[in-house]
């Protein structure tokens, strides 16, 4: 009964979740950011009454729609996968984790999805002011949606708001306030939604740069470029500030993530002069960096916002974990005894004593003889502790480099946006074709930053699904390998087709650019609309 799930199935489930989440996260940031950019453009239209801003809103809205569809479609996968592939996880924390997901549906996603149809189709059916309200509701809905999702994610990173109940054998919700005011969730929400604004700004700026280079609709391109550049400067500063805050929070909540992120193996007692690794090649087997370039005096103030806080290294964190593991084993043995006999108050008392460390007991299962914690004894304990302690550290190499790629992309974009805003405000952007080309070719950067940000956050959480409470390998559903291969192949085929169709359409409509307003209606095939073949156009025109 206590068998572990086939490790291959666990790895395939992780791979599937990571691939589908990263894929979903290609569409989310653009939705988050572009909605507010659309709302801003439309606000200008409603306030000034200038038709060109309506055109801008409608043009960028069309590109928004192409992206939005896949965001919604692939989001559904995420909600399914907790149940289909992480059954134990869903059962174990569903009482807490499911609630923000349900509230997200009730409060945010429903609003966003209902109004998005009216936003696209309702231009002629209501006053400009009413339509503007609709656009703002879409923007608000998508960002509220991110808030609740990240509250749920915050619980995985730093579980607050609930605790384990031996009578229901799961974690139970005890504090709504604790759940929603989780510092990790709060900082991560702002960090992520602003990252969306950066993505939206970069997208609009790069596409506008293309129009300026190809001399297409200068009026729309210049205005869009300036708006995006200014939005971009503000939001990139914001995203870096909040990223820093998030690192600071992690230092307390997830020391293993922080140590891996910075590839710190040894605790440096000289806090003032400790160096920050700019480049490192961490080796797990040798437990050190085989190569590193560090900048002295930077690490401690950067991470802890102080000069004298000690940052524990990976080796010390492993030693620190050992007493927790020992207690965790006791907790799990007592829990099993209590579960077999609810009158066993002694077992319950023992469990209560070590309850906080039960996750480490789960984690030790993998290394216990026959995966049975009852068989851990004085002679094999040191080896179980050693192996389990090593398992508490995430993959350092991935963590270190994912983090650095994200940060590098972020700073590069800050410089780019700053120049863009400067040139644009001086009205000389068109005199810098090389800069426009750089702006165009930088379009993948926000996506690179977002994807590596996700990897930093979720790889750094390993080996846990719920930090300190539930290990990943316990969380998975016990499927067969063939089931997993079936679904993985299906996802790869389906998602590859989707991305091909989306990129094709995105390029097609971005290249076509906004319609020439003077010819609107007269020459539909020349514009960016859903231009049909003449024969087809004729037949359906006759019908209307």
């Amino acid at each position: 009964m206590d068998m572990l799930i086939n490790p291959t199935v666990v790895e395939l489930s992780r791979l599937q979740f990571a691939l589908t989440a990263l894929y979903h996260f290609l569409f989310v940031p653009l939705t988050l950011g572009l909605t507010f950019i659309l709302a801003t453009m439309e606000t200008v239209y409603v306030v000034t009454g200038k038709q060109i801003y309506k055109e801008m809103t409608q043009f960028w809205g069309k590109l928004f729609a192409i992206n939005f569809a896949l965001g919604v479609a692939t989001g559904l996968t995420m909600e399914f996968e907790f149940g289909t592939n992480w059954s134990m996880y869903s059962h174990f924390v569903g009482d807490i984790f499911g609630t923000p997901l349900a509230i997200e549906g009730l409060m945010a996603f429903f609003m966003e999805s209902t109004f998005v149809g009216v936003m696209f189709f309702g231009w002629d059916r209501m006053s400009p002011k009413a339509h503007l309200v609709v656009t703002y509701l879409v923007a608000l809905g998508s960002n509220l949606s991110a808030l609740w999702i990240l509250i749920a994610n915050g619980f995985m990173q730093d579980p607050r708001g609930g605790t384990f109940d031996p009578n229901t054998m799961r974690m139970q919700f005890t504090s709504f306030v604790g759940l929603i005011f989780n510092p990790d969730a709060q900082a991560k929400f702002v960090h992520t939604s602003i990252a969306g604004f950066v993505t939206g700004s970069m997208f609009v700026m790069a596409v506008s740069a293309y129009y300026l280079l190809t001399k297409k609709r200068r009026d729309i391109a210049l205005r869009s470029f300036r708006l995006a550049a200014i939005f971009g400067v503000i939001s990139t500063v914001g995203v870096i500030t909040l990223g820093d805050a998030l690192g600071y929070i992690d230092a307390h909540a997830q020391p293993t993530k922080l140590a891996a992120m910075e590839a710190i193996w040894e605790t440096n007692p000289h806090t003032v002069s400790a160096s920050w690794n700019l480049i490192a090649f961490p080796s797990r087997t040798e437990q050190k960096n085989v190569f590193e370039i560090g900048i002295p005096y930077v690490l401690t103030p950067l991470l802890t916002h102080s000069e004298d806080t000690v940052i524990p290294g990976i080796k010390n964190l492993e030693q620190d974990a050992k007493p927790h593991i020992e207690n965790g084993i006791k907790a799990m043995i007592a829990l099993k005894a209590y579960n077999a006999d609810h009158n066993d108050t002694a077992a319950l008392a023992t469990f209560k004593q070590y309850e906080k460390d039960m996750g480490y007991g789960f984690l030790a299962k993998e290394f216990a003889p026959d995966q049975d914690l009852a068989k851990v004894n004085a002679s094999n304990l040191p080896s179980v502790l050693d192996k389990t302690a090593k398992a508490t550290i995430p993959n350092v190499w991935v963590e270190f480099w994912a983090f650095r790629l994200m940060v590098a992309a972020g700073f590069f974009m800050l410089v780019l946006f700053a120049f863009a805003a400067y040139y644009s405000l001086k009205n000389e952007i068109e005199k810098h074709p090389l800069f426009l080309k750089i702006a165009l070719w930088s379009v993948p950067l926000p996506w690179i930053a977002c994807e590596f940000g996700w990897i930093t956050a979720e790889n750094g959480r390993q080996p846990w699904t719920v930090y300190g409470w539930l290990p990943t390998f316990v969380s998975a559903s016990s499927h067969s390998v063939s089931y997993m291969i079936f679904s993985l192949i299906g996802f790869v085929l389906l998602y590859s087709t989707f991305i091909a169709a989306e990129l094709y359409l995105m390029f097609k409509y971005a290249r076509l650019g906004p319609q020439e307003s003077h010819h609107h209606g007269e020459e539909p095939a020349a514009g960016g609309g859903m231009a049909g073949k003449p024969a087809f156009a004729k037949s359906s025109m006759n019908r209307s």
């Binding site: 569809a69 134990m88 009482d95 349900a102 509230i103 209902t114 009216v118 099993k336 499927h479 359906s540």
Partner: protein, 377 residues
């Protein structure tokens, strides 16, 4: 009755309302998707059909997502178990559900026949398959599902997905769900469509209504001969622990026990049968709006009938009946249910209010969009 028991029953009812909302609204869109190739012969007609549900399919699909989230939170173990036990079926359902939004957005964006025809097939499959799966899943649950739990809550499953898809009773339920979706989709096509879509939908929908009534009656007779589950010495206020044993037996015809103990409940399936038949007549009499509402009543009664039969079971285990998931052991904690109730009480009326507003803004007959129309599917 103590507060926790009240909340458990309340959430059982809300689960039912969600499944009903899902079946009516999403089923309607899926019916339109499945029918599009048949009610629309030309591209213009097919676009007309799509744009009839165009402004609302997305909002409707959210019922589905909301349903998933609500089951996750209010019935964590039911969510954890049902999605895993039906793995392959769920993955197929998921693939259909994610193909559909993409088909809506992308179909009309490229004018070639090959492109549009491919997406039209996607609409057919992604409309019909999920409805069959929805019905088949309910059928399988009525038959009992092969799963049990370890002491620590880990679930184990024993039966293969082929059986879940292909057993005769599940097929019957799947086809019933499909005919109901086609009926509801036809009603919507009639409400917002013009000829020739209108008359084609009328023909198909009125047949689907009668077929649904027949399938529902056959299913009812079949279930009376099937083995059902009975929970003895129930303790409704028990802590929601799925691995703890309950006293459950399997008895032939037990799914009718609740009706035998309260014969007034027979009115629920009866209303359904009448509504399906009356709906079919309403369509023929060109009362499309009335037909739509009769379809909604039919769905409510079909799902109500199943819910009453199984109460308090949510998902009986054929593997270890003692570990069947019931309303008493399958819900979230009391604290969680309180918060879920507060949020539902605030936001469901809000949602209904703005959804109604959006429907009003976009109401009216739909014509095939001009080829140059940027604001249509």
């Amino acid at each position: 009755m103590d507060a926790y028991v009240f909340l458990k029953v309340l959430w059982w009812l809300l689960l039912g309302v969600l499944l009903m909302g899902l079946a009516i609204m999403v089923g309607m869109d899926m019916g339109v998707g499945a029918l599009m190739r048949f009610v629309g012969k030309t591209d213009g007609e097919r676009r007309e059909a799509l744009n009839i549900v165009g402004p609302h399919w997305d909002g409707n699909q959210v019922w589905f997502i909301l349903g998933g989230g609500a089951i996750f939170a209010a019935f964590p173990s039911l969510y954890a178990t049902s999605f895993s036990v039906f793995y392959i079926v769920m993955i197929l359902l998921l693939f259909s559900m994610i193909m559909r939004p993409v088909a809506f957005e992308y179909r009309s964006k490229v004018p070639t026949e090959k492109w549009r025809n491919t997406w039209d097939w996607v609409f057919l499959i992604s409309g019909a398959l999920p409805m069959i799966i929805y019905g088949a899943a309910i059928g399988n649950i009525l038959e009992g599902v092969g799963f049990h739990f370890g002491w620590d809550g880990q679930y184990y499953q024993t039966e293969s997905f082929i059986w879940y898809l292909l057993n005769p009773f599940a097929i019957l339920c799947g086809v019933l769900a499909l005919t109901m979706a086609i009926y509801q989709g036809s009603a919507m096509l009639m409400i917002r469509g013009v000829d020739p879509i209108y008359s084609r939908a009328k023909k198909i929908g009125s047949v689907a209504g009668v077929l649904s009534a027949i399938l529902f009656v056959v299913g009812g007779i079949w279930i009376s001969a099937k083995t059902g589950y009975v929970l003895h010495d129930a303790d409704p206020s028990m802590p929601a622990n799925i691995s703890a044993a309950q006293n459950v037996t399997r008895e032939a015809g037990a799914w009718l026990n609740n009706y035998h103990s309260a014969p007034i409940l027979w009115i629920v399936p009866l209303i359904g049968i009448l509504a399906m038949l009356a709906g079919s007549f309403a369509m023929r009499a060109q009362k499309a709006g009335l037909a739509w509402w009769l379809g909604a009543i039919s769905w409510i009664s079909i799902l109500g009938t199943v819910g009453i039969s199984m109460f308090p079971f949510l998902m009986p285990s054929s593997d270890n009946p003692a570990q069947s998931i019931t309303v008493w052991n399958g819900t979230g904690s009391q604290y969680n249910l309180i918060w879920m109730t507060i949020f539902t009480a605030i936001f469901v009326p809000t949602i209904l209010a703005y959804t109604t507003w959006c429907f009003n803004v976009m109401r009216g007959k739909v014509k095939a969009p001009a080829a140059s129309d940027d604001h249509a599917y």
